[in-house]
Symmetry: C2
Subunit: 177 residues, 2 copies
DNA sequence: ACGAACTAGTCAATAGCTGAACTATTTCCC
DNA sequence: GGGAAATAGTTCAGCTATTGACTAGTTCGT
């Protein structure tokens, strides 16, 4: 039975199969954890891929470039290290991306007056205009994704994900001392 | 006020700030959708990065390589295209990864008897042993992440993410006709 | 049974990310 | 005040994954 064909396996039946085999054949103890994280990653990948392919690639922009522009747009002039923190990218990635976006005239890099090592990233007028424009489309498509959940469900989802992130960070901090 | 410094901004206060500005200054209508998807991506990135850095990189294995081995391990001998579907990667990515893993002796590639174009990927004995071993550690760390949620909360989370994925796929299918 | 259309897998070129080394500035401390 | 340690940002080398073109094999229609 184990070597048989499974031509019609999709993601969900795979999760079910994995659950069963991990528990019954191998005796691993945390199947629900695996299921949660498998599903979490799948959902994130699908949404991200869809938004990038539908909204950003057609305009010649990468997903990462959008994320960087997004935080600079909304969090005002920002140091590269701050942008890296908010987006979750490395400082090197921010530096490389910013180089391209400055070249395209969307981003300005002005030296910090108080700290000669530092630099502030801000949107140019063109960058501001592009973000207002592109985010309209982005936001509509986001709404298309979340529309299958009620508002209450969406709030619960945010709350649970928040708990996952925050709770684990506290756990880490406690164990690192 | 808009050009002032925000040195202590973290992810959560950024989300709050973004929410406020998108609604009040720009009048976008779907802030909750943005919040849901921002949080979803953040959670997925954090978990994935943590598991890769803590469990897989130290053993010289990439996140993608683990994902491929994982589906081949549990879904039995599998065609590359099936593995691509289950992992969400491109067929080319599977092909490239498989090349390396065959070289490392973890994966076997046997030609399909019925279809001369096709190929079956399966774990070698070494690959099987490595998966049992590495998944023990992986699963423990997964459990460390989800432990901050009760079992009921974990089930709700899976259910909501499931609804997000499945509901949207149906929406897409309906609109594509 | 033959050719057209389709499908599976691989290859080549490219883009993007990471970690590590490097430069320039600032802060700390004696 | 002066030198050591710390910090901000950039650059570079290496790696990974993706897209698109290509090859080989299969299926379907006539």
């Amino acid at each position: 039975m184990s070597g048989s064909e499974r031509p019609d396996l999709d993601f969900w039946s795979f999760v079910a199969l994995a659950n069963r085999r991990l528990a019954e054949e191998y005796g691993f103890g945390h199947q629900l954890a695996t299921e949660v994280l498998l599903t979490l990653n799948r959902a994130s990948d699908l949404v991200t891929y869809d938004l990038e392919a539908a909204v950003h690639r057609p305009r010649g922009r990468s997903w990462s470039a959008f994320r960087l522009l997004f935080v600079v747009w909304l969090a005002g002039p920002l140091e590269p290290s701050g942008a890296a923190r908010l987006t979750g990218m490395s400082r090197a990635a921010v530096s490389n991306l910013a180089k391209g976006l400055v070249g395209d005239g969307l981003l300005a890099r002005t030296p910090d007056e108080r700290d000669g090592r530092s630099v502030r990233l801000s949107l140019t007028a063109a960058g501001q205009a592009e973000m207002v424009d592109v985010f309209r489309e982005h936001n509509e498509r986001e709404a298309g994704w979340t529309a299958v959940l009620t508002e209450a469900e969406q709030r619960i989802l945010v709350m649970l994900l928040d708990k996952l992130i925050t709770g684990h960070r506290e756990f880490e901090a406690r164990n690192r001392r």
